[in-house]
Symmetry: D2
C-alpha cells in the first residue's frame, strides 16, 4: 500500500501516519518527492482498508499494490484448475457446452430439449427450477418438482446437470439433484449464499454480476474458495452499459483477462450477454476464439411459447448447426469441443 500525503502535509501529520503503520505491525518506507511525500507500507496489505487511512490528517490518497484476492489468483496457483465430473473435464483442453431451457416447464419439454442438446453435442443440461425474476407477477419456476424433472432428463440422456440456487436455505436441496450449482448474476454478492455453496460438496458456476468488475467477480469466487470449495467456474454473462440495442454487453476482454488473473475455468453465457437469438451464434464463436473453457446456452423446443427468455433461446436445429460451426473455431485455436457420447436411452 502506498500512502500519498497532501502537498503541504506537516511533519506531525507524516509522523502520525508512520506511528499508525508501526502500531499495526507494518514497516514504513518514506519517499520525499518534489511535490508530495509518499509512504510505502511494507507487509501483507490485504487486511488493511485504504479508506481508513484516507481519514488520517494530511493524507491525500491511498493506493493498493496487491490484488485483494489470493486463493483465486493464478499467482498463487499457476496451473489451470480442471474440474472433472463423470468423465467430463472442465477447464482442460476441451471446451464444454451446457445447454437447455431458461426454465423447466414440464416433463415433456425438458426431456425433448435434453435429447435435442445431447444429440447436438452438449455434455451438460441447464435449466432453472428456482427463477429470480424482475417481476413478482412473472413465472417464478417450478421449484423442487422442476429439480426432479431436470435430474430425470439428465439421467435419461447421460448429461450432467447445472441449475441455479437462489437462497442459502435451498443449497442442500438443490445439491441433492444437481451436479453443478449455479449462482446467478443478481446473487454474485449474496454473501450468505456464497458462504453456503462454499461449504457444499458440488462444483459451482459463478456468474459475474451485471455491473461487477472483474476484480469483484474474483473476490466473490474467493469467498467460495475460502470456505473450502475449490471447484468454481467463473462466468462472463454480459455487463450493463449505456447500449440498449442488446440486453447486455458481452465483455469479451474479460475472457483473456480472467484466464491471466485466475486458474479457474472461464465460461461464457452468450444468451444473456446478447439477449437476442440472432446474435448468439457470433457471440459464441467469439467466446471460443477468445479462450473460453465453456459455453452455457439457452435452447428451447418452442422458443415462441417459452415462459421466460424466449427471445434469446435457440431452437434445437439452430443449436445443432451452431455447434458444428463452433467445433471449427475450437480447432482453429487448438482446442476441441467436449462432445458428449451418443444418446443411449
Amino acid at each position: 500500500m502506498v500512502i500519498v500525503m497532501r502537498p503541504f502535509a506537516t511533519k506531525k501529520e507524516v509522523g502520525a501516519v508512520l506511528a499508525r503503520i508501526e502500531e499495526l505491525g507494518y514497516r514504513a518506507h518514506l519517499s520525499q518527492g518534489v511535490e508530495r511525500t509518499i509512504i510505502g507500507v511494507i507487509g501483507d496489505e490485504r487486511p488493511l482498508d485504504p479508506a481508513a487511512w484516507e481519514m488520517l490528517e494530511g493524507v491525500e490518497n491511498v493506493v493498493r499494490i496487491l490484488k485483494p484476492y489470493k486463493l483465486t489468483s493464478r499467482e498463487f496457483h499457476p496451473e489451470n484448475t480442471v474440474i472433472t465430473l463423470n468423465g467430463v473435464a472442465i477447464g482442460g483442453d476441451s471446451i464444454v457446452v451446457m445447454a437447455g431451457p431458461c426454465s423447466v416447464e414440464s416433463r415433456a419439454q425438458i426431456h425433448e430439449i435434453a435429447h435435442m442438446v445431447k444429440a447436438a453435442g452438449a455434455t451438460i443440461l441447464r435449466g432453472g427450477a428456482f427463477k429470480p425474476r424482475t417481476s413478482p407477477y412473472s413465472f417464478q419456476g417450478m421449484g423442487e418438482p422442476g429439480l426432479q424433472l431436470l435430474r430425470e432428463a439428465a439421467d435419461a440422456t447421460g448429461l450432467l446437470m447445472v441449475t441455479e440456487v437462489v437462497s442459502p436455505m435451498e443449497v442442500p436441496l438443490v445439491a441433492q439433484y444437481a451436479d453443478i450449482l449455479q449462482l446467478g448474476t443478481r446473487n454474485m454478492q449474496n454473501y450468505s449464499l456464497l458462504h453456503a455453496v462454499g461449504e457444499a460438496h458440488k462444483p459451482v458456476l459463478l456468474k459475474r454480476g451485471m455491473s461487477s468488475t472483474i476484480e469483484e467477480l474474483l473476490m466473490a469466487a474467493e469467498y467460495i474458495l475460502s470456505h473450502g470449495n475449490y471447484r468454481v467456474m467463473v462466468c462472463e454473462r454480459g455487463i450493463r452499459t449505456f447500449e440498449t440495442y442488446t440486453r447486455n454487453t458481452l465483455d469479451i476482454n474479460a475472457v483473456p483477462a480472467l484466464k491471466q488473473l485466475t486458474h479457474l475455468p472461464v465460461i461464457v453465457d452468450p444468451s444473456h450477454a446478447t439477449g437476442k437469438r440472432e446474435l448468439v451464434d457470433a457471440a459464441s464463436r467469439a467466446a471460443i476464439a477468445a479462450g473460453a473453457d465453456g459455453l452455457i446456452i439457452e435452447v428451447h423446443n418452442h422458443p415462441e411459447r417459452a415462459l421466460s427468455d424466449g427471445a434469446q433461446s435457440l431452437t434445437g436445429e439452430q443449436f445443432a448447426a451452431m455447434v458444428k460451426r463452433l467445433a471449427r473455431v475450437a480447432e482453429a485455436v487448438d482446442r476441441r469441443l467436449a462432445v458428449g457420447e451418443p444418446v443411449v436411452a
Copy 2:
C-alpha cells in the same frame, strides 16, 4: 403492448400474431403504416413477456405501454405513503435523518455515537451487525451481539433503529431487534430476501441496486408490497458509472422521478453515493433540495479507526454542523427536519 412487424411481413405472419393474441384472451388492433404494420394488444399486458412475442415470425420488436409495477405506482395510489413509527412520520412534511456508524464495533462506540447523533437532531440510529463485504477477509460484523448493542443504544437515547438483514433466514432475528429492516444495494434483487421481508411486520428501507434502473427499484419494492408489507421506503444510494473520482454517482434526478412515479417515501444515502466525507454535506443539501423525505448518513466517533467505510464517515461535530445547514435548506423548500426530542437518559 405494441407489436411492430418487419417491413415485408407476410399476411400469414400477421395472422399468426393475431391468432396468438386472441388465444391468450386479448384483443388485437391492427394499424397499417407506410413502412410497417403495427399491432396493438388490448388488455392488461403486465403478465405478457415481450421477449416471447419477439420470437414469432415476422415480428421486428415489441414495445410495452404500461409500467410493469402496480401497487408501488402513484397512479394506483395517488397519496403519499406516510410510515409512522413511535411518533416519527416518514414520508410526510418533515424530513427524517438516520445516522450512525457503518458497523457496530463495541458497546462504548455505539452508545457514544447514538448520543452524538441524537444530540445533533437525528431520529433514527443506523448501524450494521451483519455486513456484506466485498472481501472474505474483511470484518463481517458482530452478528446478534451487535443487534443487542444497537437496540440498547437506541433505547438509551430514544432513537428508532434501522439495521441491515442479509439473508432470509435471519429476518425473524433482525426483526426482533430492529424498528426498520434495511435491504442493501447488493440484495435489491435477492428475491428470497424480498419475499421474507414482505412477510415481516416491520417497515423496510430498500436500497437501489448499484446498477439498477429506477424501474427495477420499483419492481423490487413491488415484490415486498405484493407479499403484504406496504411500509417500504426506497433509497437512492448512488449508481455505478465510469466516473472514478467518487465511489458512486448520486443519481439526484431519481429523487424527483421517484416522487412522481411512486407514493413511497424516498430516502437518500449521501455517504455511499459519494464515498468521500468532504462531499457528503453538499450531496445531503442537494438531496433535500430535490425533494428527499429523509437521509441516512454515516457518522463515527473515530472515523480514522472505523473497521469499515471510514473515508465516508463524518465526525459527530461535522454531522452536527451539517444538520444545522440542512435545516435551512429544508425550510427553503417548505419542509422541516424531524428533529428528535432532547436526550433524557
Copy 3:
C-alpha cells in the same frame, strides 16, 4: 509516479527500470516489499506516460501520484476565478442564471423569450445558432442570421449572450456576436476547437462530455488555459449511464468535487441533465444547494412547437416561478441569485 514490479522480477529487470528513470532525468527510490518491489519516480511526472513504463520487462503496473492538470487546479491557484462581464460576476458570491431556447428560430421567438427570461431574473441569454444534431435530417440551426438575432435580443433586454461554437473556423464569427462561447458536450475533446477558443478573447463555457470523467473535463479546460484564455467556466450537464428513464444522469457529486479541484466557476445544465421538463425544477434546486455558481436552462415561448429539445424546455411562466424558488435555496446556502436589472427598452 510509482512503478510496481511483478512478484518475481529479476535484478536485471529492476536495473533496467532504474536506468531508464535516470536516463530521463528523474531520480528513483527503491522500496523492497514482502511480495513486490516498488520504485518511486521523483520529479515532475506530468510529461511521463505511465503506459510506456508498463511496457518494460518485469513491470506489473504504474500509478500516477500527481494530477495531470496544473493551471486548472485549485492547488496551483487557490482563489476562485471570478469572470466579470458587463457588471455580472460569474464565480463570485452570487449565482447567475442563463436561460433561453435550445435554438433561435425567428426574431419574434427570440425577442419574446429574451424579455420573458429577463423579467424572471436571468442575466444571460442562451440560444443556439449552430446546432450539433444527432440526425442529418434534423434542423441544424439558423447559422449567422441566428447569431444576429441573438445579439439583437440580448441588446434589447440588456442581457449578456452565450451561444455554441462547433468548429474552429467559426470561432471568429461567433466571437463577433457572443459574450460567451459555449463548447458543447460532443466537442469537449475536439482539440482543434479547444485550441481555437483558447486563443479567442471571450470567456468560454465548457460542457462536460457525456461520458467524460471529472479529470478529463479539467484536462479539456487545461487546453484552453494553456493557450492563454483563463476565463473558463466548466459545466456539468449530465452523464451517460444505464438509466433510461431520464435522458442523462445529473452527476451532482461533480459540483462539490469540481469546486474542490479547480478555481474555475461551475455551472449546471439541468435541462440536458434530466431531459424532462418536470424534473428541471428539482434538479436546479439541487445544483444550487450543492454549490453551483450558475445554471443554464432551456426556456421556450411554445415548447410544444420548439424545433428542438421541446420536452426539456420550460415555459416562461414555469421558469419565473422556478427562479423564485431558487432564490430561497440560494439564501439557505448563504448566496443570492444575480438578478438582472429591470428591462428598459
Copy 4:
C-alpha cells in the same frame, strides 16, 4: 410513431393530438385500450421529434417505430458495400488487416514498421500525424511532415495508408496524402468534420464514440453518406463502462449487430478496445470469429519507447505470430485474410 396518452387524458387532449398530426400531414390511428389510449402516426416519422410530442397535454410518452437512419441501413441497401482500393477489397469475403504505430515519430521508425507489418501480412498502414491527446502537454503528432513520411513508407511497401483527420480545415491536406481518412472516437459527433469528409473523395474509417450507441454510430455514418460519400467503414473500438482493468470494453455484440443493421464494412480496433498488449491477440481472434471485415492494430518497433500508447502496441514479432493465428480463425468462419503481396523494394 406511437403516442401513448396518460390514463385519464381528456377527449379534448386526444383531439388536440389528432389535430396536430393532421396539421403536419400525417394520418392518425386511434386505439382505445383498457388503461391507455394510444395513437399511431402514419407516414414517414423520421423528420418528427418525439420530444416535441411529449410536450402536448395529456401525452405520457412517445415511441418511435422506424430506425432514424436510412442510407446506412441494410433495409435500404441489402447487399454489402465493398470498398475497393488499389485491388484491396474491404467488406467482401476477405478480411483486411491495418497495422502501424499510434504516431509517426521519424522516417526510420515508420519505414521499419511499414516493412514489418507488410511482411507479416497487413495490407494497410496506419499511423497518426495529428493526434488528439487528453493532455495539452503530451506529444500532439508531427503534423504534415508526418503525413509525408506515412505516404513515403506506404509507397515503399505497396501498402495503402489510413490516418486520422481532426479538423474540417485539414481534410483537404490529409486527403492529399491518405488513402483512407480516419475519424477518431472523440470526433464521431463532430458534425463539421463529418460534413467535410462527406464531401471528400476518399473512403472514411469512422470510429464509434466511446460512449455512443450503435444507433448513434450509424447516424454519424448517415451524415457522411447524406453528403455524398458512400465509402464508409464503421469501427468498433471499445466503449466506456465501469470496468477499470481494461482501458475500454470491446463490445463484441456490436459486430454481428452492425452486420445486420448496415451494409457498410465493420472494422474492429482491438488495441484501443483493450488497452493492454497481452489481450490484443484474443480480442482480435474474437473479432474475426464474430464476423468483422477488418482489424486495425497498433504495432511498434520499440513499444517501450513509443511516444504514445506503448502499452497496447505489439512488437513486429508478436504481430506476425498473431496474424498466423488469425488466418486460422478466418478459415474456420469461411473467410480468409487479405494478405498483401510480398514486399518488392
